[in-house]
Amino acid sequence: MMDVQTLTFIIVGLSFALYIGIAIWARAGSTQDFYVAGGGVPPFANGMATAADWMSAASFISMAGIISFAGYDGGVYLMGWTGGYVLLALCLAPYLRKFGKFTVPDFIGDRYYSQVARVVAIMCAIFICFTYIAGQMRGVGVVFSRFLEVDIETGVYIGMVIVFFYAVLGGMKGITYTQVAQYCVLVFAYLVPAIFISLMMTGHLLPQTGFGATLADGSGMYVLDKLDGLSAELGFAQYTEGSKSMIDVFAITAALMVGTAGLPHVIVRFFTVPRVKDTRISAAWTLVFIAIVYTTAPAVASFARVNMIDTINGKDGSGTAYAEAPTWVKNWERTGLIVFEDKNNDGKMFYSSGKISDPNSANEVQIDRDIMVLANPEIADLPAWVIALVAAGGIAAALSTTAGLLLVISTSVSHDLLKRTLKPNISDKQELLAARLSAMVAIVISAYFGINPPGFVASVVAFAFGLAAASFFPAIIMGIFSKRMNKEGAIAGMVTGITFTAAYIIYFKFISPELNTPANWLFGISPEGIGIVGMMVNFIVAAVVLKLTAQTPEEVQQMVESIRNPKGSSAAHAH
């Protein structure tokens, strides 16, 4: 039997070979005839590809982790992201498509007939993408650090190199079937351990039903009841209750929703499908493919938590001897993502609420949430190949999203800013070079944030969404649904929105993290959810500025009118 590390190398290597193989096949040129004959990529495949773009390392690695630790509170991510996708697919993509603009900054620039608006939008896009990539880099780092048995920092460096080669030199982004393969690897890697564990713990094949079922250990207890019991015992909040205030939950969910809708790299996916009808079908498929993973997440989270507490604290709840600790604890300790400090010198590990550094707390083990999905198969003692598979899945999730985001950054910098705004006379060669360089810089900067994260992967990503919510979303919505909105309003709105949100987040997360408690929050809304307030600010500022400034030109008003009235779309259906 091979050890986990060897198997990981083999399986991750095989998944890369698959992506590269598909890329070569697609480049061979034989596909062109195939496309013409088959009328392009089927909506089913396109749905998978979009899902791969959509599901980042945050979804794959961190979401279950956050639910596992935060219980009910973690569910906001689940709701926010799913809702955001629906919002994007139904309310934004079809209109942007009719407008005939390929990127959000282009839409904003043309709709608000202003170069300044376009540049502001580009800046917002770059800023958001940076935040988002930072989250991905951390995810990749976690995977590599565990399986190469190095510390998290080295893991991020390795991830950095691999992402760079994959996204910048490999040029594999944009090939739909590579994305399809990535989705398959990802979903397989997510479901296999979940099904195994569900079978072991509850006897149910589907983790979704196992989640609500009774434990198979003969106690007849429901999984969630057991978790609630354990949480109460160890001083955590009730798993199914949550500690966040209603308004905060609402704010975070809403921020995630509208922020998702403004994410630049996903919108593009809707435009690459030639037929309008196919766009809808593939959007529906995407939702199905996302749902497969998202509905599994809560189950994975609760199984993992039960298992984890059971193994660390022992069946009797008095702690397991450190000398006899399972190998996964030792393995993860090496990465620095699990820390054990024997505070009462009994040679046993004990996990409970409170910080490990707090002498009043009984907690002796500190566990990084981001390891939950990755460590889950190990905790459950699943075969080594399943553990390796999860690593491959995590990398797939991070790669597809990072590649998309890096493209947005590099095109924004080299084409939108450099070629179209600052230096229109650069050659193709220089433009491509600038693109590669900016991708490289983006990777390095985001790797820095990956090593020194301002939060967990999911919350870092949540910030990105918050920023998007406060800047793009209102501008897009007003651009489509209000024909009177003018450039002054939109620019002022975007600038104040993103500034307000970024300032709030930076204040609570970087400048005074000790003040980051509900008592100090504005309206009781946490930094994760402040994007929604930023959005409101954006709307209000825009409306006020609109009142004070000149009217929108007639032709722009007509253009907006034509997007919304049915005549515009009739041409699309004519054939």
């Binding site: 061979a28 005939g100 690459t272 493209l407 084409h415 193709d428 220089q430 491509l432």
Partner: protein
């Protein structure tokens, strides 16, 4: 260190490729050359095998001739020669003819090798120059053709000249006395300018200038000229290149001898395209028209051997097709009465791009006004049927994709055509993209230009769609150049196991596609690829250097394609086997493909946010 001579260095560093090289390169060159005074007497001494040199003309004027005495090119200040032998090691075959003696710089072989090793740009410059030389000389290899005659043999002797202070009225009088269409303005036997009867019309009558004014005020000053001992071919080339019909002929002392007109040249040429087009327009019956059409292949063959700029052949054939079409429409109207309403006959694809070959098929259509009724439609159905059928009889194959005015789909009203285009733009499926590649190369041929312009304006409004551009860019990038990961050729194999490279599909077509996309984005209403590229110089979409690169690539591939087509006939059309190329040509071909690949990448990047 050898001291450099400031004047030499200054001259050298302004010349290509030194203007792009570090200062050290021009220093090396200017301290290692030898200077000679090249005259008619000592010309045989130079350009001989044994000791090879790179020659750079400092002053004077010379003609480079083939072994048979045909002019390859005119050399003047800043021109190089002698490099082909330095590059290939082959014996020198060309010879020199001195028009005006002057100074020439010589660089020894070992010093040339040194610069070649040291500076890639230096090597590339000469490799490229050599390629152009090879290709242009290929089309001149036919011997004893009329174009090899000397100017002095074909020109009308006796220059009609006037002093610059003569009045416009005097000029007109002198011209009509001598019954000539142009006059040379000279002072003390030196050529100052030229005035043609067209100038009298455009610059005097049309503007209302007084005929008492001096002729110097309206003459074309420092006009193009030619020497009496030059070849007719050079004159033809000059005329075609600059679109002029009158060339003053000078002797060695730069004294005007007479005027060479395009009519003089036409008289020399039995099957001339201009004459043939004229004949087509005068044809009174179908039989006459078809007779004209049979002359096309012979004309093309004789012409192809004499022309330097390959894009002219496509233009020539398209011009003939246009003429045939226009005449057929006129003949139909003679028989069936005037058209009942306005219409525009339009063409697509290669005819629109003016890239037609003898194998190209018809791509055309009829544009009708929106208020066309059924009866009128019947008339145009007949017209479409007739013209397409007769064109096929004239040797232009029918379109396998049925893009012809005989097809009801291609006989739409303004609205119908726009709806077709709008559908492709809004739903850019691969099939729609395929259509766009044909239909977006569009040119007006005959009928109402008002109707066509209305259509063009509305169409350009429709094309302003970034999603459509993105789809086009993505589509273009799926067609890859035949280069592998390590810059090796990727050959295709046909059923007979011949290995080949498809220069058209994997080279020229990609450039055409790229340029079409840029032209649409820049709202350029031209169909010809080179003209589109020229027009793009005015937009900021593409850098100037990139545009020139694309033009060079396009010309190189087109010429190579025609050249090899003549030599290796068992391969599929437009294909070559790189093994039949010299190592230099292979090198250039790779360079060309690499440039296309880069342009493709950049295009996908700019329009579709595609892969890096």
């Amino acid at each position: 260190m050898i001291p450099e001579i400031a004047e030499v260095k200054r001259f050298v560093s302004k010349q290509m490729p030194f203007s792009q090289l570090p200062e050290a390169a021009s220093h090396f060159f200017s301290t290692h050359i030898e200077v000679i005074y090249l005259t008619e007497q000592n010309q045989h001494q130079w350009l001989r095998s044994g000791n090879l040199y790179l020659y750079l003309v400092r002053s004077g004027s010379y003609d480079l001739l083939t072994a048979h005495g045909e002019v390859i090119t005119r050399l003047a200040e800043g021109d190089y020669f002698g490099y082909p032998s330095l590059l290939t090691g082959e014996a020198i075959k060309n010879q020199l003819q001195v028009n005006v003696a002057g100074l020439v710089y010589l660089l020894k072989e070992e010093d040339f090798e040194f610069l070649r090793r040291e500076y890639k740009v230096f090597e590339q410059h000469f490799v490229k120059a050599h390629a152009n030389r090879l290709l242009s000389s290929h089309y001149k290899q036919s011997r004893d053709s009329w174009s090899e005659k000397k100017i002095s043999d074909v020109m009308t002797k006796g220059a009609v000249m006037l002093a610059p202070d003569a009045s416009i009225y005097d000029a007109a009088k002198t011209m009509s006395q001598h019954s000539v269409s142009s006059i040379i303005i000279s002072e003390q036997q030196k050529l100052l300018g030229v005035v043609t009867d067209r100038d009298l019309r455009n610059r005097v009558l049309a503007v209302g200038i007084s005929p008492q004014q001096s002729i110097a005020s309206i003459m074309t000053d420092s006009p193009k000229y030619i020497f009496e001992h030059n070849r007719v071919f050079s004159a033809l080339h000059l005329m075609l290149k600059h679109n002029i019909h009158h060339l003053p002929v000078l002797n060695e002392r730069h004294e005007p001898l007479g005027m060479l007109t395009s009519t003089d040249l036409l008289r020399q040429q039995k099957s001339d395209p201009v004459q043939l087009i004229g004949k087509i327009y005068k044809a009174q019956s179908l039989t006459q028209l078809k007779l004209c059409a049979t002359e096309i292949p012979t004309l093309l063959k004789s012409f192809a051997n004499n022309i330097e700029d390959i894009s002219l052949i496509g233009k020539l054939l398209s011009g003939l097709s246009d003429a045939l079409t226009a005449r057929l429409i006129a003949l139909y109207q003679l028989e069936h009465g005037e058209a009942p309403c306005a219409f525009s006959w339009i063409c697509f694809g290669s005819q629109a791009r003016e890239e037609q070959t003898l194998h190209s098929d018809q791509d055309n259509g009829l544009l009708l006004p929106d208020d066309v009724n059924d009866e009128q439609r019947r008339y145009f159905a007949g017209l479409g049927q007739f013209v397409c059928e007769q064109l096929a009889h004239c040797g232009i194959r029918t379109c396998p994709g049925n893009i012809m005015a005989s097809n009801a789909d291609c006989r739409g009203s303004l609205k119908q055509w726009l709806a077709r285009f709008e559908n492709w733009i809004a739903q850019p499926t691969p099939k729609a993209m395929l259509n766009c590649k044909i239909y977006f190369d569009i040119r007006f041929i005959e009928g109402s230009s008002v109707l066509y312009n209305e259509f063009a304006t509305q169409l350009s409004e429709l094309t302003k769609n970034e999603l459509f551009f993105a789809a086009m860019a993505t589509d273009i990038s799926t067609n890859s150049v035949p280069l592998g990961l390590f810059q090796q050729f990727k050959l295709e194999t046909d059923q007979q196991q011949h290995k080949y490279l498809d220069l058209k599909r994997r080279g020229v077509v990609i450039i055409n596609d790229l340029v079409r996309l840029y032209a649409l984005k820049a709202q350029i209403y031209k169909a010809n690829t080179l003209e589109r590229l020229d027009a793009l110089l005015g937009a900021t979409l593409l850098n100037k250097a990139d545009i020139y690169d694309l033009k060079d690539c396009w010309r190189y591939l087109t010429q190579l394609r025609l050249k090899t087509q003549l030599e290796h006939e068992q391969l599929p059309e437009n294909c070559i086997n790189p093994q039949h190329l010299t190592s230099l040509e292979r090198h250039q071909l790779k360079e060309a493909f690499y440039l296309i690949k880069q342009a493709q990448q950049a295009c996908a990047f700019k329009f579709a946010r595609g892969s890096l």
